[in-house]
């Protein structure tokens, strides 16, 4: 995405290659081209590009992907911390 990158090594995305059936859905949905399909298996090509939107994990038919999805909104996170509530859904203004 025209060279935008966020912090390194912070993303909560994990992929279990042994569960993957190579359907390619994660490649299709990821707006940041985080995955590629290599030899009928999904591979995380560039983990730091992930924005934790959760599209890949919700669409993976075999639950091979896990990510702590949510919007990176400082005020939202702050409110979550204050109320110590577990809201993983993105809240747009």
């Amino acid at each position: 995405m025209n060279g935008y990158r966020y912090l390194e090594n912070v993303v909560s995305l994990t992929l279990d290659p042994s569960a993957c059936i190579g359907c390619g859905r994660c490649v299709e949905v990821c707006p940041h081209h985080v995955f590629i399909l290599d030899d009928s298996k999904a591979v995380v090509a560039d983990r730091d590009l992930c924005m934790e939107c959760g599209a890949c994990s919700s669409n993976c038919p075999v639950d091979a992907i896990a990510v702590d999805a949510g919007v990176g909104c400082a005020i939202g996170i702050f409110n979550d911390w204050l109320h110590a509530r577990k809201t993983s859904k993105r809240g747009c203004p």
Binding site: Y4, Y6, P31, L49, S58, N59, A69, R90
Partner: protein, 297 residues
């Protein structure tokens, strides 16, 4: 003026049983964009109830999601209208949807097409295959510019409150001229974070939004001190830097909520480090101001 389109099945052109079914949100602007993009095409448009919210935000909230999609497919009796069993969804709707669940629950298979509606004709003409360019997210100057007024409006309350506090405190410390000076300094620093950070995003150094904001804040403070006649001593200049830099840093960090590439984990990390640093900086700034009359510089 209504921002909401009633959910349901709409015809574009004169669609038949083999025409594609394009799914979208019932935010008027989204609906209009899709309609305009598909001008000249025969297609069905399945509009989901997202309460007038765009696809991306609605997907995050879950209203653009599996449940609503299945409900709308069944309610509109889509299976009787079209002969095929395929739905075309916007890529940015994917976080709310589980394609395999949709198939299981209503027999329609989901294809995620493009990020932007403008690319839909290209997608359909390309045999319903998205090229990498159609899956490319943009965050150009124009996209960033439209976010700035939104940010200002969202921050108005905070700006008004802090302005009042800054003005009162400065007025008590040094009269009305000093209060105006302080108010100008504060508002400049805040707008530095709200306006300059989005505007200059790709060119500001570092990946951290708080640091990007801090850089803007520091430059603003030094420029402001210089332009207002080098007001005060080195000690008060340092105090101004310590007080104003966190203001810009805070608003810079806030912009992460509007960008389509910042992860929640990343923002949390910035906050865990940034908020204490900002707090300490403000405390030291206040202390420096309080002490400046006694230190002699």
């Amino acid at each position: 003026m209504s921002y909401i389109v009633p959910p349901g099945l709409y015809a574009l052109g004169t669609p038949g049983p083999e025409s594609p079914v394009v799914v979208t949100a019932n935010y008027k602007m989204t609906y209009d964009t899709v309609r305009r993009a598909l001008k000249g095409y025969d297609a069905w448009m399945l509009v989901l109830e997202t309460y007038g919210i765009n696809v991306w935000c609605a997907a995050g909230k879950g209203s653009f999601g599996t449940e609503e999609l299945v409900r709308r497919v069944l309610a509109s009796e889509l299976a009787k209208v079209v002969g095929h069993r395929r739905l075309i969804l916007p890529i940015l709707g994917a976080p709310g949807v589980a394609a395999h669940q949709v198939f299981r629950q209503c027999g329609f298979s989901v294809t995620y097409a493009t990020i932007y509606a403008d690319d839909l004709p290209g997608f359909l003409d390309n045999g319903r295959v998205a090229t990498p360019a159609m899956r490319e997210l943009r965050f150009s100057l124009r996209e960033r510019l439209v976010l700035i007024p939104v940010e200002i409006v969202l921050e108005l309350k905070t700006l008004a409150w802090v302005s009042a506090v800054v003005f009162t405190a400065c007025a008590l410390a040094g009269g009305v001229p000093f209060a105006l000076l302080g108010l100008g300094a504060y508002l400049g620093a805040a707008l530095g974070g709200i306006v300059a950070v989005p505007l200059l995003l790709p060119w500001l150094p570092t990946r951290s939004f708080a640091v990007k904001g801090a850089i803007v804040g520091l430059l603003w403070t030094l420029g402001y001190v210089f332009l207002t006649g080098g007001y005060g001593s080195p000690m008060t200049t340092a105090a101004a830097c310590l007080l104003l830099t966190p203001v810009s840093a805070y608003h810079g960090l806030n912009f992460t909520g509007c960008t389509p590439y910042t992860s929640r984990s990343g923002v949390k990390k910035e906050m865990r480090i940034g908020i204490p640093v900002m707090g300490i900086s403000i405390m030291m700034g206040l202390l420096a101001f309080a002490l400046s009359p006694f230190t002699g510089f």
